[in-house]
Symmetry: C2
Subunit: 379 residues, 2 copies
């Protein structure tokens, strides 16, 4: 109908608030001016609250993968052993990055759709004093699984290893208390719960991690985090998005981080209740279900990809497909960042209409009803 009226319900990029769009369209300024440096420092200050850390924060002009690579480039020297907790595309990316930097990845491979078994991590760490870094994923958006970072941090603390967490698709929406839990490094991107367009990414590191980085032997320049920790803006930053970042951090502060976590949990619970009521199988069990994205399994007689396209064309809601081998087997619903409980009702209604138009038997309104009940009960 109207192209720009479509609801972007994918696990990032997520919708950008109009005020963030407006701020991001300010005229360019000299990024070496003191005004801009002050803006960057203010952003870093506010980011510390979001990361829940008193450590250092680097703002990179790059994607979430750039931030992940910078963590590896600064912590993995050739031949270093790393433990990767991998249950999907983004766990696999850690493994690829460790290999790219000539490290030796030991992988705990978790079946798609399941969360990390903390006990298993503990056992591996106890038997492997050579592990230098543990790479984990807070929110595996490819399978819509949320991992127990608090538990992983607790068992890693007993070991000498550094814990690095990919929180790209969760930070700001899923609780992560970096300092309190003892996570050493956290990376995230701009285009998820931080409600910005893609283009910036972030690395937070505590003192222990920063000390390790100093001794690291891997070649790095743009990704040398020390340059960012020391100089804030070592290379030309994405000026426009820094203005947007200041505004999105203002919005996060205005809502309150704990309220944001609550809102994400409510949206997750509404979507799951609605999907269940429609008779569609949820791909992930309650205990590991992500707060920011929900994966729905296909069923007999439903062509998932054709259904997704129909929901976009007829109802104006863009759902995400499965990635890699999951394509055609699941579809995913993003509920991260600039999204509201009402958006979830609209999304469920669109799914209902889409199912009916796909010839799939579902009672109209049944999912919306279940989700409304969750919302009402949360009030």
């Amino acid at each position: 109908m109207f192209d720009e009226a479509k609801h972007l319900r994918i696990p990032g990029p997520s919708p950008v608030p109009p005020s963030v769009q407006r701020e991001s369209s300010r005229p360019m300024v000299a990024h070496r001016s003191s005004d801009f440096m002050n803006l960057a420092k203010q952003c870093i200050n506010d980011l510390k609250e979001v990361f829940q850390t008193n450590g250092q924060i680097a703002i990179l002009t790059g994607s979430g993968t750039a931030a992940m690579e910078s963590a590896v480039a600064n912590l993995i020297s050739p031949q270093d052993t790393a433990l990767v907790l991998s249950g999907g595309k983004f766990g696999e990316r850690w493994t690829e990055l460790v290999k790219a930097y000539k490290g030796n990845p030991t992988v705990i491979s978790i079946p798609y759709g399941q969360g990390v078994d903390v006990k298993q991590v503990e056992q591996v760490l106890q038997s492997r004093p050579d592990i230098k870094v543990v790479f984990a994923t807070q929110n595996e958006s490819s399978t819509a699984v949320m991992n127990d970072i608090e538990g992983i941090a607790a068992v890693t603390k007993a070991h000498d290893a550094i814990l690095v967490v990919d929180a790209v698709s969760g930070l700001g929406g899923i609780p992560l208390y970096m300092d309190a839990w003892g996570v050493d490094v956290v990376v995230t991107g701009s285009q998820k719960c931080l409600m910005l367009p893609p283009g910036l990414s972030f690395v937070a590191a505590n003192e222990k991690a920063i000390n390790r980085m100093k001794a690291n032997q891997s070649p790095r320049y743009y990704f040398n985090l020390a340059a960012y920790f020391d100089d804030v803006l070592p290379y030309t930053p994405n000026v426009a998005l820094f203005y947007g970042l200041r505004e999105s951090l203002r919005l996060i502060k205005e809502e309150g981080l704990e309220n944001s976590y609550k809102r994400h949990r409510l949206m997750r619970d509404m979507v799951r209740a609605g999907i269940k009521a429609m008779g569609l199988p949820l791909f992930v069990d309650e205990e590991s279900a992500s707060l920011t994205v929900t994966a729905v399994s296909g069923v007999e007689g439903l062509d998932v990809e054709a259904f997704r396209k129909l929901v976009e064309k007829k109802c104006g809601v863009i759902l995400a497909s499965g990635q890699g081998e999951m394509k055609g087997k699941i579809f995913r619903i993003g509920h991260m960042g600039y999204a509201t409980p009402l958006d979830m009702l609209a999304t469920l209604a669109a799914i209902e209409v889409g199912l009916i138009l796909s010839g799939f038997s579902v009672t109209p309104g049944i999912g919306v009803k279940a989700a409304e009940e969750v919302w009402v009960n949360a009030n």
Copy 2:
């Protein structure tokens, strides 16, 4: 939650498409340049399609009331008799305007919530050859009533009077075939089905009307329509909104006018089905129910104004109150311009949640279900 994520479901101003917003934020230009004159002429050309006329079109920088006043100022001389078909706030505005220009209004007063009785108009016209102008309202947004303009035009044709139609809250969404039906003057505003911010208004007139205007004795300068018909841009226009207008006219052409009428009818039918299913009374009968706004009557035990505020605060949907004596007795749901069937499902869901949180007994999802069925059946 997020202020700018609220759904504006009032009968204007209506939501503005992002591409129209972007176009409206272009840098200022000299409005006397040939480029800008060409843009204005292109807009007038495209507007003729929307008005369904080969007559002349004036683009005023002003509100819908400005366009209404210009019609009166150019067609009513002191002591002229006018017939006003009045069934709400905007019919009453015609009467006030005729009085302001020292004309004599004869008013057919229609009870709130009902449409004009064409037979009655015919009878009055037959007995009153002194009537110079008939003033009608296509869409009385204050009561959510749509009038039979085709019928009114048919009975006015037999008379010497000029027919002036206020189509402020309908043009582009509700069928109006100006030339084919024989409507002499049509006025509208930018902020309704034309999907622009408020700030521009439009008057279309045929030859018969333009000839009458030449003999008119009322004082007028900014509202002298001949100046606009002759010079297009006689005074400084709202430059930004002309860029927006070009884009909104492009969007209307892209959708197609007949498709826009169909979409508005579908949204109307969905909303009415949903409201009915919730057990709330519709203020207007099917035959006179507006395609662009729906009025819902209050019921015993529901504080309409408190309910409206709660729906905005808790669900993020802004509904309209009743105007004047209707305040507290009805609430209104706008579905005009940049709005989709999915928006209607979200609005109905918000109303359901709002009713429940107001302590009003309603089955969650029941209205959404009914509206989904209407949508599915329209496919």
